[in-house]
């Protein structure tokens, strides 16, 4: 080739012919439409039907949105403005915006507080949810957040959440201290804690027994009430008999637990002591407050409402029920019959009862037992019930994750010489939780939507707000689509975000066992 003189050749192409464009029906939008929408007679028919439906829905709904009235004082005024045209009355959202978001009793000059709490929630949740992106130090913020948010939303003195946080930190320090102790020192400590706890328990039981007997004598054994009378008497006597053995038994159990690294038991006992001292929190924080006053206007729980209430219940209950669910799932797999039994009974009982029943118990039945003046916080009661409910479900989801792990993982962890806590924390849970993510998110989304059930116990969450004060007000009587549509939109935004996050997390954790 190289020695062929170029002049001998009649024509040499020096450049390629530019490619001609593909036929129009094989490119761009037309190709896409042909392949995806009209690829056969069946798909063509389906496409046409779908197109017809979409057009008729849009053309039907568009004027409703387009003609929407945004400024009016009542539904009658709306109708006057519309004058017979189809159109939404979005003015209700403007007029009752504050009520839909915060409830109708939250003080107006304090609206900034839940708003700040919400913004801080985004900041505080970020390091926990996106651990790889944000520095680990930001987790401190996450730890502080619950106490700060409580103070912002409920108001009152700052010292109360500070005290609670302080006692938790103190427990952590004690845990560290005990962990580093020599075995015999640990045993002595366990002995002291066991003794204190046993004495405290015996004292509580003694008081309880006295009151049971007192109630029995109040009821009196005549007619139908003879049954409760007998029950209370029996319970009282039983408790009297149990006072000393129970104290000794529990105290001894705590003492014994020091031998097999029973730090958990000691810490639990400490927590129990805190709970017993809980009634001191109010006066002590009050005393602190009188020295250095740090106070916001207090807002009682009954005044919470609107979407804020859903957000409070949703975030608190999800964050509480995941760890509780993990504990329950582990407990159900435990080899210790007592722990296993308690967990199984709890899970099966709670799963066997509808949430609405638990809410009714929280709202009305407890009021029978609690004295009228000291009824403890309504939202707290509801949070406890919803958390119990969802933690039972999450426990079963996580148990599924635990069961999916090959037995070899457990054995490998043991053969490395890891103890139970280490094996669970480092080997078992990371894998089991990864498997459980879709299930947990399922429960979380369901729980978030279930928060609207509180409207049946006359708490004004967003649905309660709509059903009660808005739809039944003289101004907005029987307005329907606009308000429910708005609520649906809010819930969709939150639930869709949760689901998107979970999918992102799954991709992050993908380790590909294949």
């Amino acid at each position: 080739m190289s020695d062929t003189p170029a002049q001998n050749v009649a024509f040499v192409r020096t450049s390629e012919i530019p490619p001609s464009p593909p036929p129009t029906r094989e490119t761009g939008a037309i190709k896409w439409i042909r392949e995806n929408l009209f690829s056969g007679w069946f798909n063509t028919i389906l496409t046409l039907i779908a197109l017809y439906l979409v057009i008729s829905i849009v053309s039907g709904a568009a004027p409703w949105f387009y003609n929407g009235v945004w400024e009016a004082d009542s539904i009658r005024e709306c109708r006057d403005i519309l004058a017979g045209k189809t159109g939404a009355c979005f003015a209700v959202l403007v007029d009752r915006w504050d009520h839909l978001v915060f409830g109708f009793k939250y003080p107006q000059d304090a609206y900034w507080r839940p708003l700040v709490a919400f913004l801080l929630l985004l900041v505080a949740a970020a390091p926990a949810l996106f651990g790889k992106i944000f520095p680990r130090k930001m987790l401190i913020l996450t730890a502080i957040y619950p106490f700060l948010a409580y103070w912002l939303i409920w108001g009152g003195t700052l010292w109360l959440p500070v005290l609670v946080a302080g006692s938790i930190v103190a427990t952590g320090l004690v845990f560290r201290l005990v962990e580093g102790m020599a075995v015999n020192m640990r045993q002595i400590l366990a002995g002291v804690v066991g003794l204190l706890f046993g004495l405290g328990l015996a004292w509580l039981l003694f008081k309880g027994a006295a009151e049971l007997v007192f109630i029995a004598s109040n009821i009196g054994g005549s007619g139908l009430s003879v049954i409760p009378y007998a029950v209370f008497w029996a319970a009282g006597i039983f408790t009297y008999v149990c006072v000393i053995p129970m104290g000794i038994f529990v105290g001894y159990a705590i003492y014994q637990s020091a031998e097999d690294g029973g730090l958990v038991t000691i810490v639990t006992a400490l927590f129990a002591i805190y709970i017993m001292l809980a009634y001191l929190l109010g006066p002590v924080s009050g005393a602190f407050n009188s020295i250095i006053p740090l106070e916001l206007q207090a807002v009682p729980s009954r005044d919470m409402g609107g979407f804020m209430l859903c957000m409070i219940l949703g975030t608190v209950c999800v964050t509480l029920s995941v760890p509780l669910g993990i504990v329950l799932a582990l407990g159900r797999q435990s080899h210790m019959p007592l722990i296993k039994g308690v967990c199984v009974v709890f899970i099966e009982f709670v799963r066997g009862v509808p949430l609405i029943t638990l809410l009714f118990v929280a709202n009305v039945m407890l009021a029978y037992f609690l004295p009228p003046e000291t009824s403890f916080d309504l939202i707290l009661r509801v949070i406890i019930m919803i958390t119990m409910f969802s933690s039972a479900y999450i426990a079963e989801v996580i148990r599924g994750g635990l069961a999916a792990l090959p037995k070899g993982q457990y054995e490998a962890a043991n053969s490395l010489g890891l103890n139970y806590v280490q094996a669970t924390r480092l080997i078992i849970l990371p894998q089991a939780l990864k498997i459980s993510i879709p299930g947990i998110v399922n429960v979380a989304v369901g729980l978030f939507k279930d928060t609207t059930l509180v409207s049946v116990i006359s708490m004004f969450d967003i649905v309660g707000m709509i059903r009660g004060p808005i739809q039944q007000s003289t101004d907005w009587i029987s307005i329907y689509w606009e308000v429910y549509g708005f609520a649906a939109l809010l819930f969709f935004v939150v639930c869709y975000s949760i689901s998107q996050y979970s999918q992102w997390l799954e991709r992050q954790l993908q380790t590909d066992h294949r």
Binding site: R76, Y368, E373, R467
Partner: protein
Amino acid sequence: MNKTIFFGALATAALAAGIAGASTLDEVKARGKLNCGVNTGVPGFAEPDANGVWQGFDVAVCRAVAAAVLGDPTAVEFVPTTGKTRFTALASGEIDLLARNTTWTFSRDVDLKFEFTGVNYYDGQGFIVNRNLGVSSAKELDGATICIQTGTTTELNLADFFRGNGISYEPVPVETGAEGVQQYTAGACDAYTTDASGLAAQRANFEDPTAHLILPEIISKEPLGPLVRHGDSEWADIARWTLNALIAAEELGVTSVNLAELAAGTDNPEINRLLGSEGDLGGMLGLDSDWAARAIGVAGNYGEIFANTIGEATPIGLARGLNAQWINGGLLYSPPFR
């Protein structure tokens, strides 16, 4: 172990409740607030306005009692209750007074152990139908689908009425009034039934009120009134006579306008006894002498409250009807203040 502690705590609580349940009046005074159960929302009767302040005809009863007892009509903690929670809330002591359009019936009074302290609104159950249906009497509703609120006396009345007339119907259960209206206007049921006051209020807000007809039959008696727990007659007396004071004030011509003038003393001894310038009726109740004047001072007498919350000048547009004074042919009849 934990269960026992829990049980002990419950027992302590129950014990404290038993001791504390001595006198509702003392409790309310010590608390400085009246816990009053109201509806979560009935137009004109109980509804929070755009500022979150409770307004309405039932709410006025709460405010009047608070004014009589505590001297401050705003010293009320309104506890919204649903049809399902109202009675437990009252029985458990969570509220002191329930003013939530509750029908006075035998079983509620006797079996549920409540004490109705009077009637603040005489209602009755009616039907609303679309004129297109061509029905002019409830007895022509054979085979109709009827929207009905569950958990209310209206449900039972409906069953009684149709059984008594030997005709059949198909119930469409709804939870709230708003849902009922929505179902009715969407055509899910031929007729909607609830208290006639509710029907009138709802119809006034239909897009075309003239297209709907409220049938002439009133199939039940629904005397709605405030109620308290059994066992504290002093407290029941206060609630009863506060309501009577509002009614008597209208009969005697005491209004919010001339109240101050009349309270100074008049030639009518009954007005003087009512407003406390003569006799010591307040003392007998355990209150001071101008208790009734304070109650009337909140929003005027019964007639004024009616006119401002649900009367014909309001969007609710209810006529006095049975709720007129007895001298005007109604049923309102307060026993004498003597």
